[in-house]
Homo-oligomer: 388 residues x 2
């Protein structure tokens, strides 16, 4: 075993940073390809950066996010928050009274944990439903939540979506849609309408998911409800700060449904290509991945023996991908305890326009080097704890 | 009454932003003078901004804030949060159980509203003390809070500070210091020690107060407690995002106690000048202020009658200062529940080098307009809820 504990993982991560720094200095940013899909965007002009002062920036950016945000999400008013979870907390604190109930409909279990956690904080009961025939709204319900697309990107059926909204509105209960990635996945790929156009009173989306914005949340909906939520947001420090709002505006402006649709069709194409050669790949909604066990199995198929653990194999290949090809994946740069699954998100700006044959070449080359190193434990260890 | 509740305060704040935007567009940034003392900054190099785009940036900044933050605040571990209020909420959610008690010692009433609000959310009782002889820590106390310097910048006596900590520690109760501006005011101007050096278990400071950082909060303290708080921070989306962390690092690096001290001597000079004409001004550690009651008294001295409440008078003058002279004070742009004291912080970069006679002219002009409007309720309301 090379990477044995958290301290080793920290060392591995630092080693990945040294390699990234080396590539940045020697070859430049163009030779790095971040496919983690977790980096978040931060598009900013020089003029905008000068405006970023506590009480001047907001005046400009809060105005513009109203226009840009309403175009993206619909609704009467927009509210930028520090994260989708923060927006959900504020909504629950504003609308869900102690002893009331929250009913949540979604395509598949589980809902995002911030929803039941916020309900518990408010002293409200909470129930999740994935079957419309079982969906129940007791009389003490104060809020109905719909998840547009789950954490694993499973999308809700649009008919069920409108049915749930009708049922809630019959009882005059407001509907919040957790449309973290759904605001784009549902509309761009599944041709569904925006949540507010389907009648939702409130919607919240994550500005870093499937769009080039910063980590953050953007709410929209009925002005009267947004105003109530905004009070809680301001009271507890949940609002997005000016630098984030600025980057949200630019992220939304830079987002195009075409790019998202393109990454979905490119994923299919790339999966088709790469599966001819390897058994280890699986699809994700907008890319491909190799899990620990599948990587180990691929080695068996190739009759290659190694003293390395399955986890070490993931770390090693991830470091080879970085050092040889400049491809940044989570096992190389992740915090201790992060997943060791090697994911290639094809919607990130570094690879969205890359020729798929070129990408496959890079993966092939790195995999050949990996197959060699996997049998040379000392050299593998040297790479994982890279120090020039 | 014009501003009656939190919703009105939100609308008033939005109205101030519209005026700021109008001045920016019509006259430019040089015609705005932010004397809130909250006008932090967003210092960023081109290289750092490029790093924000990749997975590398966040990782690098999170490492660096540990080093820079510990130098500024002491403690074993640092935790950057979206706002001081968000850090207080997370601390209360992590450490304060339902049915327990929070005791808060401060130089003068009231404590920041986020503290009692967070306690109410956790189902805990809460009491504030300004007299050490009355300070009580019942047996069910789960947290003791000390405010280093109040919203109106009244600083706690260092002896009382350590007494409160000793009393809490005798009962094994952790102490959180709300050192929003105090972390700098207490140390640079009052020669006090850092909160952690005085024995506090936790401290939180605002990175935009009396330093050129972004709006945000920085916590430090015992690693074991910080880890518990970090869980709540991540669960509810309260953490500072990478662009904020980057600007916090640069803000702390750019902070110099000397600038803060210079503003102290300018304050003495300006107070001497302006007190010849008005009775309402009082000194703050780095500027001057007018409190609600003193503004009302000034009106009486001038024999001017008004139907407006004392609070509305503060909001009105603050809006006139903004609209007529471009002077940004907290009552105009503050969050709901913020102090309605009109403070002129002389250490902000917009006025640190301004001729004091020019500043007095601006204050005189705005006050004349205010004296007129205070007798015309409808026009006053129109200005407070300004909408072209």
């Amino acid at each position: 075993m090379i990477v044995n504990n958290s301290l080793d993982e920290v060392k591995k991560r630092e080693s990945a940073f040294r390699i990234i720094k080396k590539i940045l200095e020697e070859k430049g940013r163009d030779s790095l390809f971040d496919v983690t899909g977790l980096s978040g965007g931060f598009i900013a002009s020089k003029k905008e950066l000068e405006l970023l002062e506590t009480y001047v920036g907001p005046a400009v950016f809060e105005d513009e996010i109203q226009i840009v945000g309403k175009e993206h999400l619909g609704g009467e008013k927009v509210l930028p928050v520090n994260r989708t979870s923060a927006g959900i907390l504020a909504t629950v604190l504003a609308l869900v009274g102690e002893g009331s109930h929250v009913a949540h409909f979604l395509a598949d279990y589980p809902g995002h944990p911030s929803i039941p956690r916020s309900c518990a904080l408010a002293g409200a009961s909470y129930e999740e439903f994935i079957d419309i025939n079982e969906f129940a709204i007791p009389d003490n319900t104060s809020l109905v939540v719909i998840t547009g697309s789950t954490m694993d990107l499973q999308v809700i059926d649009e008919d069920l979506f409108t049915q749930v909204i009708s049922r809630a509105h019959e009882k005059d209960i407001p509907v919040l849609v957790d449309d973290a990635s759904g605001a784009r996945l549902r509309t761009a790929v599944f041709n569904q309408k925006r949540a507010t156009d389907l009648g939702a009173d409130l919607v919240v989306t994550s500005t870093d998911k499937l769009m080039p914005g910063p980590r953050g949340g953007l709410m929209a909906g009925r002005a009267e409800l947004i105003d109530e939520i905004k009070i809680k947001v301001n009271q507890f420090g949940l609002e997005a700060q000016p630098p984030l709002i600025m980057a949200m505006i630019n992220g939304i402006k830079a987002y195009t449904p075409e790019v998202l649709r393109k990454s979905v069709s490119r994923k299919e194409e790339f999966y088709g290509l790469i599966s001819k050669k390897y058994e280890m790949f699986e699809k994700t909604p907008n890319g491909i991945k190799v899990q620990e066990a599948n990587l180990a199995n691929q080695l068996k198929v190739l009759n290659i023996e190694t003293e390395l653990s399955e986890k070490d194999c993931c770390f090693l290949w991830s470091m080879v991908l970085l050092k040889e090809e400049g491809i940044i994946t989570i096992p190389a740069v992740g915090m201790p305890g992060a997943s060791d699954t090697i994911r290639f998100d094809l919607s990130t700006k570094d690879v969205i326009d890359m020729d798929l044959d070129v990408l496959q070449d890079k993966i092939d080359n790195s995999f050949d080097v990996f197959l060699d190193l996997v049998q040379k434990v000392e050299m593998a260890e040297k790479l994982i704890f890279f120090d020039e």
